[in-house]
């Protein structure tokens, strides 16, 4: 009781202290009434840690949902977020909550949902599920939306090799999981394909099960600074929220960084945008949009759908114009990858 009283006091005090800050904005995340006419689609979305507002792949998924809602007149959608350090049971509960609420399709954003989704999907055979970034969970009602990150990373790797003056580039990964390994492997292959003698420094901020490496900009900054200090002039980051630290280090060193997931020369803070050479764009929004569209059309298929270069699921960004001079070479490489002339390994 005393503890509860104490906490209540604390919450009030802290709440009051925070209110001086600024305006509040509500996201349209609440389910509204059902539409009229034909039964409307009710879409459920379960985010990974970060959720809406992470300026990364969760936001990208949200953008796909928003576009689909607008285009197909979907009014009823529910979005739930994961919390830092939660267990698989909590993820399961989140999916179950959506399924029991009658939402279908349900999209699980992130490979962390693989285990929980396997369980829940078998409990709700009539509900359509999709999972982003995982193709280990296969079932009749699961669509796996996966990306050929290695292909996009290959292209930015080639760009790094072409642009590096010191013949030394770096890669900062958030957490050493198979997904991030795909970025690294593709990147290195791209660098070596273009210039075999370029040195590549690699660093992962944390090891699983410690996932703090995706949200620790201070570590990202220290790691990138280390690379710049030992001769790198371009660092590619696939480190989620730690990536901001990599950009800070690039700014301080007057060197280049390469963004990831979204076109970060547009989304990162204005002060560091001019240090972003290019970004490996991963179009989670397209995948989410397509999946909802297929549900509307009734053409949804189960199993993996790979969004690769050919499908436009991954790409490199040209914002800022820093790589305009090498675009023809990159386009040529892109063609060769699409045609199968260059095979990019993923692990």
């Amino acid at each position: 009781m005393r503890l509860i009283a104490g906490l209540a006091v604390a919450a009030v005090v802290l709440g009051a202290a925070g209110c001086g800050g600024g305006s509040s904005t509500d996201t349209a995340a609440s389910p509204s009434g059902s539409g009229t006419g034909k039964p409307p689609l009710r879409v459920g979305l379960a985010y990974d840690i970060g959720g809406r507002g992470d300026q990364s792949f969760n936001d990208s998924a949200a953008a796909g949902l928003d576009k689909a809602k607008k285009d197909f007149g979907i009014t009823d959608s529910k979005e739930l977020e994961a919390n830092q350090g939660e267990t698989d049971a909590q993820k399961e509960e989140r999916l179950r909550l959506l399924a029991e609420g009658g939402y279908t399709p349900i999209i699980a954003v992130g490979f962390a949902y693989a285990g929980p989704l396997k369980k829940v999907a078998s409990e709700f055979p009539d509900t359509k599920f999709a999972i982003v970034d995982d193709q280990s969970t296969l079932a009749g009602n699961i669509t796996n939306l996966v990306f050929a990150e290695e292909q996009g990373s290959f292209l930015v790797g080639a760009a790094a090799a072409l642009k590096s003056v010191k013949n030394n580039v770096g890669f900062v990964g958030g957490v050493q999981v198979p997904l991030i390994k795909k970025f690294e492997v593709g990147y290195i292959q791209g660098v070596k394909h273009q210039k075999p003698d370029v040195q590549v420094q690699v660093k992962y901020l944390t090891q699983p099960p410690d996932f703090s490496g995706f949200g620790d900009p201070a570590k990202g900054k220290a790691a990138a600074q280390g690379m710049y200090d030992s001769g790198a002039d371009i660092v590619y980051q696939a480190a989620g929220g730690s990536g901001g630290g990599v950009f800070e280090a690039a700014k301080a060193a007057g060197a280049w960084a390469i963004g990831v997931d979204s076109d970060q020369a547009k989304t990162a803070d204005p002060a560091v945008r001019d240090r972003i050479l290019t970004s490996m764009v991963k179009k989670v929004d397209v995948a989410v949009y397509d999946f909802i569209k297929n549900n509307v059309d009734g053409t949804v298929k189960s199993g993996p759908i790979v969004y690769d270069l050919a499908k436009g699921g991954v790409d490199y960004a040209t914002t800022g114009g820093h790589i305009n001079d090498i675009v023809p070479q990159l386009e040529e490489l892109k063609k060769q990858i699409i045609s199968g002339q260059i095979k990019v390994a993923s692990s």
């Binding site: 005393r2 503890l3 009283a5 104490g6 906490l7 006091v9 604390a10 919450a11 005090v13 802290l14 709440g15 202290a17 925070g18 209110c19 001086g20 800050g21 600024g22 305006s23 509040s24 904005t25 840690i49 970060g50 959720g51 809406r52 507002g53 992470d54 300026q55 936001d59 830092q84 050493q176 420094q201 690699v202 660093k203 992962y204 901020l205 944390t206 090891q207 410690d210 703090s212 949200g215 620790d216 900009p217 201070a218 570590k219 900054k221 220290a222 790691a223 600074q225 280390g226 690379m227 200090d229 929220g241 730690s242 901001g244 630290g245 800070e248 803070d269 204005p270 002060a271 560091v272």
Partner: protein
């Protein structure tokens, strides 16, 4: 953190020998000796980054949040309140620090706001543990959860409306100024780049610690002697420490134990909040959800490492920060060179055990371990990535396990105190 650790030592044997006293000259010699070992390791392995200015500078930056959290823990525990809520107070500090800096357009406003934010966490802890006598661990864990939840809520409320911000992170925070000792920056850089034995290493150390140091870092470093002065050289500090050693005795002498515990716990929160503010304002230049990454707990470990003393705590934080900088900057190569340092240190310990303490069996074991580490160094070129990221933790554990017999926590630490219940 239980009393079990206390009975291990054999305090009665000690009086025979004069007690070892750490003087500034011994400290300086020790540090130079350590640098000498690092210089040897650098020359042998060629891992130039282990004594580069960049590494020492990064080490300082990584050590500060841990050190500040540790200082927070020190204030609280010296008054007899276990503070496992440091992490939550740090989280509050990261958010309030970022908010203050953005709201008032000055990083120093953020520093103050961060301290206040952390102190609010301290107030909760003080209300719960001192006023209401709640179990310290339970209250601390609750604060860790509350800190996480409150900042998440506040971010949605405040940062989402700002340009460049979102529910999970703040916009970029205006940069804080840095200070350098003028005139020596370039010569030191030149000396460092020559890679001379020891001289370049010393130049790297001095350059890293004197060039482009954030004002916040200087403030944090000054807080260590200030804490020592306040807690060990003033009547106020004596009263706080008496509350942690024997509150009933303090009460009988007219000390208002509740008041002193309150002050200590709120200061503790403020210091942890400063650590958080450093993370968001200086180390990252933005607030990011979850950016503390357990540093509050590491700070607590640094405090225990330092035997509940400010100097030892600073050494613990520095060790952690240095090894963290090594593994983050050059990963496998630097950590591999560190193996040689560990081997040499262990060999020295073995000699000490043999000659000074005449503990033959212990010396042999230490020597064998040293030989094994040396063999590991010689037979490999690098340390696997999976191992490097835990280097700071393993190093800290190693030193702790060697020194744990000597640790002594405040006698009444963690024991709930009720006024007027003297037995």
């Amino acid at each position: 953190m239980s009393a079990a650790g206390l009975s291990v030592g054999q305090p009665l044997e000690a009086p025979a020998k004069p007690r070892f006293k750490m003087t500034p000259s011994i400290l300086l010699l020790g540090l130079l000796g350590l640098l000498l070992l690092l210089a040897i390791a650098r020359v042998v392995s060629g891992a130039n980054d282990i004594t580069s200015a960049g590494t020492f500078s990064a080490a300082l930056g990584l050590a500060v949040p841990i050190g500040l959290a540790g200082l927070g823990g020190l204030w609280s525990e010296r008054s007899g309140v276990v503070n496992i809520g440091l992490e939550g107070m740090m989280i509050l500090g990261t958010w309030f620090g970022a908010w203050g800096a953005l709201q008032f357009g000055s990083p120093w406003a953020g520093v103050i706001a961060g301290a206040i934010g952390g102190a609010l966490g301290g107030v909760i802890h003080a209300v719960a543990t001192v006023t209401f006598g709640v179990d310290h661990i339970i209250s601390g864990v609750a604060i860790n959860i509350v800190g996480l939840g409150v900042t998440e809520y506040l971010s949605k409320l405040v940062f989402e409306g700002m340009k460049g911000g979102g529910a999970k992170q703040s916009p970029r925070i205006p940069a804080m100024g840095t200070a350098s000792i003028p005139g020596i920056g370039d010569p030191l850089k030149t000396i460092e780049s020559k890679h001379w034995f020891f001289v370049s290493d010393l130049a790297g150390l001095i350059s890293g610690l004197t060039q482009n140091v954030s004002w916040f870092t200087i403030l944090a470093v000054l807080l260590v002697p200030l804490t020592f002065y306040l807690l060990w050289r003033t009547a106020f500090g004596l009263r706080i420490r008496s509350c942690g050693e024997r509150p009933v005795a303090a009460e009988s002498l007219g000390v208002n134990v509740y008041l002193y515990k309150w002050i200590a716990v709120v200061v503790s929160g403020g210091l942890a909040g400063l650590g958080g503010a450093f993370l968001s304002i200086v180390a990252s230049q933005l607030y990011r959800d979850g950016q503390t990454g357990g540093r509050g707990f590491i700070g607590l470990a640094a405090m225990i490492f330092g035997n509940w003393r400010p100097g030892g705590l600073a050494a613990g934080a520095a060790l952690f920060g240095y090894t963290d900088a090594l593994q983050l900057r050059q990963g496998g190569v630097s950590v591999h060179a560190l193996l040689l340092v560990v081997a040499m240190l262990l060999a020295l310990v073995a000699v000490y055990q043999l000659v000074r303490q005449e503990r033959i069996r212990a010396a042999v074991i230490t020597f064998v371990v040293a030989a094994l580490v040396l063999a590991w160094f010689l037979l490999t070129d690098t340390v696997p990535e999976q191992f490097t990221s835990v280097t700071p933790h393993i190093t800290t554990l190693l030193v702790l396990s060697l020194a744990s017999q000597r640790l002594r926590m405040p006698a009444a630490d963690g024991i709930p105190y009720r006024r007027g219940h003297a037995g």
